[in-house]
Symmetry: C2
Subunit: 465 residues, 2 copies
């Protein structure tokens, strides 16, 4: 595990220090008021590695990193065996939240069906959870089953009695949803009906449970106006209303998330539920403090053209000497975030339950990049490691604008205390080095796009070249 | 059948006259340019019943009412056994369109399940189609099956090879969708996946086929700004875009139509399909020229609290001496249209195929009324017939605003030639008299609302009192 460097923000279960490159006045009064148990220690104390730091060290939110930060909270992670779900489950468990994982393991099945594999050698969910208990002394309760099976789901809510449910449990690949008709139907049925079931289960078995539901920034599409956080105040013909932001999903997957958001808003109002809707950007990175605590806890990393996403995939392509595959002109701009920020954001959302009947919406990303910008950053980082990354433009298999305006807001989570881990040299180095460690596991036949939006029909083509 | 009066606009298969209460200049040049084969006869000629009319008689669109108006068009009516679908199938068949009906007869099954019945004694679909051929000499091809069964649907598209498909084939009751969890899931699965199947079937088997898809005005909810037709031009922070109008469906049913619209817009663009999305208001009335041609062709009329809609239901309540059931304050305002206009609008939509890759959206209603206004109109009409209609306010079982701004646009279909049949005394008389003819068939236990939005859960209450 030596190649996997520790991140700039160290895991420190018994302390609450965090290094931030800002003055002590950086904490706005607004954030102070929203961050529970906030403290500021403006003294200059030793930072990690024993070096005297000139940065101001702040314990900005001692509760959030403390070993008992989640005391009294019972959090059900639906989809806890996936990329974001696994990291989130461990992050919360380590901080004293009682965590359960609900998962039908379909993500592993998709790999089996399509001949894919994670770059990293992930363990079975049973081994993962056992190892986590051994390493951390914390127990994660495991419920293997399908949210589309209401008998299972209802009984699970009744038994675990969560104070919060974090719902990652959906088919999350746009290309997968566009492979063929049956996968389009599967994606919308699985995602939309699964979420309706979760809403009913909360209503019937845990009415005070706060639902934190993962959507995607892709719900918005690429409008020619600024993207606000879920709602837009519109003045039209002299009258004004604040309405759901107009959505334009660009695949059956993205559309399934649009449908979820609309269904959830309705149920929140009709049933007075507590729901938070999160529109997450493209997640990158592999390391969180907890998944790095033992090799058996390592997270998955996808490089294939169906489940791999832009930044991670480009790193892997660079590492194995495959040209980075830019689709079309490469002007496609999206919001991105480190998986370390995913877990931090989810904790913030869980710690700030929505009021009954209201549905706050957060845009969960930290930076915007175009595909060309990403390819440029990874070229530089790769060159520093002695690689010679190349970039090629391949015909765009998607139906999307390749040059467009993009300006999305993301202040809600920052206002609640999010300290972003921005993409920098150190992080790219860490990621690239991890990737290089496992590059022999890469099947290069899985890299080129095999799913074309225009060609979706009854029978999928075999996408393994 | 004597009680069923002929409507003001007579059925005249061999003539093209229509009485309109307007001057000959009423036809705008815009409509003239869009109405195929438009003609104006400004002379004062005898109107029907032999009376000399002072109104200007215009043959405004001779093609649309001609016996060969639809020559060369093959129209598949999905949901052709339902209220709107049956009337539309006969209307188009009578005008020379080759018509097929695709239906799984689930509307009849809902009645069987819930102990409901149509006020009017409708015949089986097989008897209906046989009788239609006998009466009109026109054949309607019948395909009994489910749009959610893609093997059936694909084969049906391949066999019938439609130039247009009119898709009414969805579960269309908001209360039904709110009865319990399994009906919520059924409604969204049936409607959303059925429509995805139709889109795939067109793409695979009839790529030039024009899809005319029925949505609902209820997709918009009740925003505090004017409701435009499907799209809204928004200026925000100095930039402008035309985006899908923000939707706020108020039940799992309404939401299923929102999801359909979003899926359809995506497929239209990604696959270059021809699709028209229609947001229809609340349909009222029973008579169309064709359904009145023989008692065995009569259309269904629903008065129960699940499938009955405001205006029709109030008429039936007034006729049987049950107080009209206004939900809450009764300020709920919606768009309404006569079923005669439904069939006319669908013909207009079919005659004006969308361009590939574009999705025109029409708001299909002719007048706005609040529930209280409807109750007032029906009270007056009932009194003229010697009834003593009463109005009661019952607790609103829905989650909806009971007093709100409402101003929806509906010019697109008028621009294409729609001549609305507005709600007037004569129409209410006709409808009330039909209702009185069949009032002994009313089961009064089905009238009071039995489905409450807030109470939806795993097991539905028995809604028959």
């Amino acid at each position: 595990m030596s190649a996997i460097a520790q991140s700039a923000i160290s895991f420190a279960p018994t302390t609450t220090t965090r290094v931030v490159a800002s003055s002590s006045s950086a904490l706005s009064s607004r954030r102070m008021s929203k961050t529970r148990n906030a403290l500021r220690l403006s003294s200059s104390i030793p930072a990690r590695h024993g070096k005297k730091s000139s940065l101001v060290v702040q314990a900005i939110n001692p509760r959030s990193d403390a070993a008992d930060a989640g005391k009294g909270q019972r959090v059900m992670i639906i989809g806890g065996d996936g990329y974001c779900g696994w990291a989130t489950a461990l992050h919360l468990s380590q901080r004293g939240y009682e965590v359960s994982i609900v998962d039908n393991l379909c993500r592993r099945q998709f790999d089996d069906q399509l001949g894919f594999n994670s770059l990293t050698p992930i363990k079975s969910i049973h081994e993962r959870v056992r190892k986590w208990e051994e390493v951390s002394g914390r127990k994660i309760e495991l419920f293997i089953g399908d949210v589309c099976d209401y008998e299972f789901l209802g009984a699970t809510f009744e038994k675990f009695n969560p104070t919060a449910a974090v719902h990652f449990g959906e088919q999350r690949s746009a290309p997968y949803s566009m492979m063929d008709r049956s996968r389009a139907i599967f994606t919308q049925t699985n995602n939309v009906m699964g979420t309706i079931n979760v809403l009913y289960a909360i209503k019937e078995f845990a009415p005070d449970c706060h639902l934190v539901k993962l959507g995607t920034m892709g719900e918005y599409g690429t409008p020619n106006i600024d993207i606000e956080e879920g709602y837009l105040t519109i003045t039209h013909n002299g009258r004004t209303d604040t309405l759901p932001y107009p959505k334009q999903g660009g695949s059956f997957y993205h559309l399934s998330k649009c449908h979820d958001s609309a269904n959830m808003l309705f149920c929140t109002k009709a049933w007075n539920l507590r729901c938070t809707d999160i529109n997450q950007g493209v997640v990158y990175g592999i390391a969180t403090d907890e998944t790095m605590m033992h090799p058996d806890l390592i997270n998955r990393l996808d490089y294939d053209a169906v489940f791999g996403t832009a930044l991670n995939r480009f790193c892997i392509q660079a590492a194995v000497g495959h040209p980075m595959t830019v689709y079309g002109k490469g002007g496609q701009t999206r919001g991105f975030l480190n998986i370390r920020d995913t877990v931090q954001c989810i904790q913030i959302a869980v710690d700030n339950p929505a009021e009954p009947g209201k549905m706050p919406i957060y845009n969960q990303f930290t930076q915007q990049f175009s595909v060309n910008e990403l390819a440029g950053l990874i070229t530089e980082a790769g060159q520093k490691l002695g690689l010679s990354p190349e970039v090629i433009s391949v015909p765009n298999p998607r139906t999307e604008a390749e040059e467009h305006y993009y300006n999305a807001k993301n202040s809600n989570l920052k206002d609640l205390g999010l300290e972003p881990t921005l993409l920098g040299d150190e992080l790219l180095d860490t990621l690239m080095k991890t990737v290089i460690d496992y590059k022999d596991r890469v099947d290069q036949r899985l890299i080129m796009p095999g799913v074309n939006w225009k060609e979706s029909q009854s029978v999928a083509k075999n996408i393994t070249k």
